[in-house]
């Protein structure tokens, strides 16, 4: 059973491995670093794929470029800076946090916050007329208005 699982996993991962042209890695650590880096970079031809997954010609060239820069002893940050200076922030899957991207990073949290606020206010408003309506049910037009919600 365990072996079948391993086989299945291997079969699932095989196309991924095939998409990547063999680069002469000197050890597993170097390969792991390369793969991690390639996964953080966007393929510009097929824009919803990362550099590690893409089989486009340009992705191949960019992988070679990344590999060679790694060999030259450049750090991940230096390699990213090189690519950003040519292809803009778009090559990074994680856009850097700055003024322009603030809304992108925190917009969803902001929306959740607004939603929570709306829910809290609505619940409170509904609770109040219900409590107030108990003694004087008929004379509460505000409660009737709330029912539209």
């Amino acid at each position: 059973m365990k072996r079948a699982g391993a086989l299945l996993l291997w079969l699932l991962l095989a196309p991924l491995a095939l998409a990547i042209d063999p680069l002469p890695f000197k050890d597993a650590a170097e390969e792991a670093r390369f793969q991690a880096l390639a996964r953080e970079l966007r393929c510009l031809v097929c824009q919803n794929q990362n550099l590690a997954d893409s089989d486009a010609g340009l992705a191949k060239d960019l992988r070679t470029e990344v590999f060679e820069q790694m060999r030259q002893g450049k750090s991940n940050a230096e390699i990213k800076r090189y690519l950003v200076s040519r292809y803009s922030d778009f090559v990074l899957y994680d856009p850097p946090l700055r003024g322009k991207t603030w809304l992108l990073w925190f917009g969803p949290a902001l929306l959740v916050g607004i939603g929570a606020l709306v829910v809290a206010v609505t619940v409170r408003r509904r609770a109040r007329p219900a409590a107030a309506a108990a003694p004087a049910a008929a004379t509460a037009p505000a409660a009737g208005e709330e029912e539209d919600w």
């Binding site: 960019l62 470029e65 778009f90």
Partner: protein, 180 residues
């Protein structure tokens, strides 16, 4: 007032979606803004397509503005774009340099034979190194490089007669005024 709130929210949503549609119609989502605009074009020395022994470098082209058009015989959109260059090349007033990207030289020559050659000179980047330096990600792409070697304009995708009239020609004219 509270009764109107859902309607107001609905109108707001409508405006947002409408803006999204309008924005997408006027902007190409796939277009990656070039960070090179306003910066010096990368240095390069590339062999000429028609004479691989000789090469052309960015420094040799300094002193006057030129257009650099990335193309390849494998690229369908280049076929679409090509007649526009053949037509417009005469009255642009600056040389059009071809940048043959990741191509087989024989294929490129046959392609130019078939569709015409509007280029003053053609450099060949079969490896794709210089193309990466230029931030090229899909042919055709066109760069306007001024006399000082600074990238002034970049067009991703085929140029159209309309684009040449409305964007390219004014940009070239503006160069003339800035650098006497």
């Amino acid at each position: 007032m509270a009764r109107l709130l859902p309607f107001v929210l609905f109108l707001g949503l409508l405006a947002l979606l409408g803006f999204g549609i309008a924005w997408n119609k006027t902007h190409d989502q796939r277009e990656v803004p070039s960070p090179l605009i306003g910066k010096p074009a990368p240095a390069y020395t590339l062999p000429l397509l028609y004479d691989a022994q000789k090469s052309l470098s960015d420094t040799a082209l300094r002193g006057k503005p030129y257009l650099l058009n990335v193309f390849g015989s494998w690229c369908p959109a280049c076929v679409e774009e090509h007649p526009v260059w053949v037509q417009a090349q005469q009255d642009l007033g600056i040389p059009l340099i071809g940048f043959n990207w990741k191509d087989d030289p024989a294929d490129a020559k046959a392609w130019l034979e078939r569709f015409g050659n509007p280029y003053a000179q053609i450099v060949a980047d079969n490896v794709g190194r210089v193309a990466i330096d230029f931030g090229v990600y899909g042919a055709p792409e066109t760069f306007l490089i001024d006399a000082a070697g600074v990238v002034r304009l970049k067009r991703v995708g085929p140029v159209t007669p309309d684009y040449i009239e409305r964007e390219l020609k004014p940009a070239i004219a503006a160069l003339g005024k800035a650098a006497p």
